[in-house]
Symmetry: C2
């Protein structure tokens, strides 16, 4: 009577949603101030003031029909030109507005890209830990997702990659800074990765695309943490960007796809992106927020709270004896469960009102994700509880 797969996708609550509901219930029982919810990756800092200022200005200055009217399917030309120019200035990769396709956020960037690239029998590769919706998006395009392991520093397992590559692999998807681990792929990692892809592309006589999901691009906290520009490292690359985290606008759904102009037949790939966007029902990205994005591109919300939270949490947890991946970016910390069964570990944490997400949902057994996009005071109050949890495990 309806599509069973879609029914299951729509009726199965995600773990994070389960925790969200539990947090609501538990807050009603013991007071919200006593529940420490580290489950949700929702920006906790306001959008920079320029966002609302730009909205107010545009609404005042622009005739309604122009402001709220259709833009071209790929996005308003002046918006794309501005973002491309800024990209070129910031990263040195020469982009034009015609390489950019404005989207309704990162999820749309990804479903469109997968749909644009996928031919029958195609396969995409991702490294664990990874954002679980990737599997949904790849399945929507009719492709297969192969999950490969990472090492303890959450860098790709290159031996596994070389073994897994085959002529049906259409692309490798990376996400750095990473959700859920906070790991960043530095230049060395990216070079090693792209060397392999270049060699294999040559061997197979067809490009293996490098798809870079970059909603956390600006969320890095140390001077010496550099997020390499993928466009400069590998020609057959597609960048999927979203303003959700950098500008704290996750609900407004605005982002873009940038097709590397140096990619093989890049104009045709861009056309396939346009076709996929049309096919999936994205007529154009929201018009007002396209203009807001162009105006605020490259700016960020005040990320100092995340930096403070990261330092506090990492030090606090390692002082307790926990093993953590040092999070170079994003707003997640990956914590090794103090017992083999991470689900049991999360349950024990719950006794102390600490709500964590089992890393198994991200393809990483034995780890849990701690989202630190919260008020700093929540972390300060939670650390003594983490201490008790550590003591229970005799750490």
């Amino acid at each position: 009577m309806f599509n069973e797969k879609m029914y299951r996708l729509g009726s199965k609550r995600s773990t994070i949603r389960e925790i969200f509901e539990y947090a609501k219930k538990r807050s009603a029982e013991i007071g919200a101030e006593n529940v420490f919810d580290f489950s949700i990756g929702n920006p906790s800092v306001p959008a920079p003031a320029i966002v609302n200022q730009t909205i107010e200005r545009l609404v005042k200055e622009t005739p309604s029909v122009a402001l709220h009217g259709y833009t071209s399917a790929q996005g308003d030309k002046s918006v794309r030109d501005k973002i491309a120019k800024n990209y070129t200035r910031r990263f040195g990769a020469a982009l034009s507005g015609d390489d950019i396709y404005m989207t309704v956020g990162a999820a749309a960037s990804l479903t469109i890209t997968f749909k644009a690239l996928t031919c029958e029998g195609d396969e995409f590769i991702v490294f664990a830990p990874y954002f679980p919706e990737y599997a949904v998006f790849v399945a929507n395009a009719g492709a297969k997702l192969t999950v490969l392991p990472s090492d303890e520093n959450m860098q790709p397992d290159f031996t596994a990659l070389e073994r897994a590559l085959n002529p049906r692999v259409k692309g490798v998807l990376i996400n750095s800074p990473n959700n859920p681990s906070g790991a960043v792929y530095g230049e060395e990692t990216v070079c090693r990765l792209t060397d392999i892809l270049r060699q294999k592309s040559k061997e197979y006589g067809a490009p293996i695309y490098l798809i870079s999901d970059e909603p956390y691009r600006e969320l890095v906290y140390d001077e010496n943490t550099k997020v390499p520009c993928i466009m400069n490292c590998y020609d057959d690359s597609i960048v999927c960007y979203s303003y959700s985290k950098s500008l704290s606008l996750p609900g407004e759904r605005i982002g873009y796809i940038a097709v590397n102009p140096k990619a093989t037949d890049s104009k045709a790939v861009y056309a396939a992106v346009c076709g996929a966007g049309r096919s999936l029902g994205f007529v154009c990205a929201p018009a007002l927020f396209q203009r807001v994005a162009a105006e605020c591109d490259g700016m960020t919300a005040d990320l100092s709270v995340y930096k403070r939270n990261r330092g506090l949490l990492y030090k606090g947890l390692t002082d307790c004896g926990f093993t953590c991946v040092y999070p170079d970016g994003a707003f997640y910390l990956f914590l090794k469960a103090a017992e083999e069964d991470a689900a049991a570990f999360c349950e024990k944490a719950k006794k102390y009102e600490l709500l964590l997400v089992n890393g198994e949902d991200f393809g990483a057994k034995g780890w849990v994700r701690v989202a630190y996009c919260v008020q700093t005071e929540r972390i300060e109050k939670a650390l003594p509880l983490f201490k008790k949890l550590a003591e229970e495990y005799g750490l």
Copy 2:
């Protein structure tokens, strides 16, 4: 190397886009005031003042993290509740917020609905003339689209429908007021249609869904033109709505799907809608405009311009001797080409600087679409040119 179908979809210019480019070129040659572009279905009246007032108020009053943050995937609960309540008040069909799923506009409403319903081998039926993107959206779900004829008044050919129905037909898609013909399905048409669907659903032992695409619902111009509420006429119905035309907000991409709570297993159908939305990459509808929609639901831009244009154009064209469908709604007039070949007719019209769209793109051979969402003055100036065109045909 990429998906050929998507490449073709993205690189083939639509006829309307072709005309748009021609109009630009021609305007540069002879001045925009001398080119009469009736090709584009873009609202020509501003959004009602309350839209921008609501945006400004929300931006001022709502904390940024709440205003621009994620809503639940199906849309903010209070938004859905408000729209449902209003729907119930306006149309008498009892909806709750949990029957409504907020979308990124009508196209998204449709791709999600088709994806939610389609099982392997399924088929959807639509009556010509129809919006050509329907074919793209149905194909995206992996279903087959069957196009059936309408009569001279652009009402369904019921004999053809009865012949075409079979157990693989998952749904019938209607669009009233209609793009491109402006026709409205009155109560008699809807009753006859739903009687057939009810009988066939019973015969096959499975519901045939009636999917009602209603972006033009509020765009009717006569006291006695009633657009029946599909929810009240047929249980297994799904309404796909968009605020693009009623509020003149086509670029902002905001609409909803309403699953009739009286539909067979309506909660499961709703869950499949949620799953399809997730699968296609719609995380949530744009947050700010969800709230604007809730605040302005049921209101409209000033539609009196369209009414005036319709009257002027219909009288003018019939006075010239052209045969037209009387447009009860939307902002399109369907004109019978004065020769068999509508493409040749459009070319002749071009000589008088009149830009019309061949109805063949909408599955209606021998007709052309005249979009009258333009400044009234354009119609006044165009009518003498239509007169000359008519004279060329000896009308």
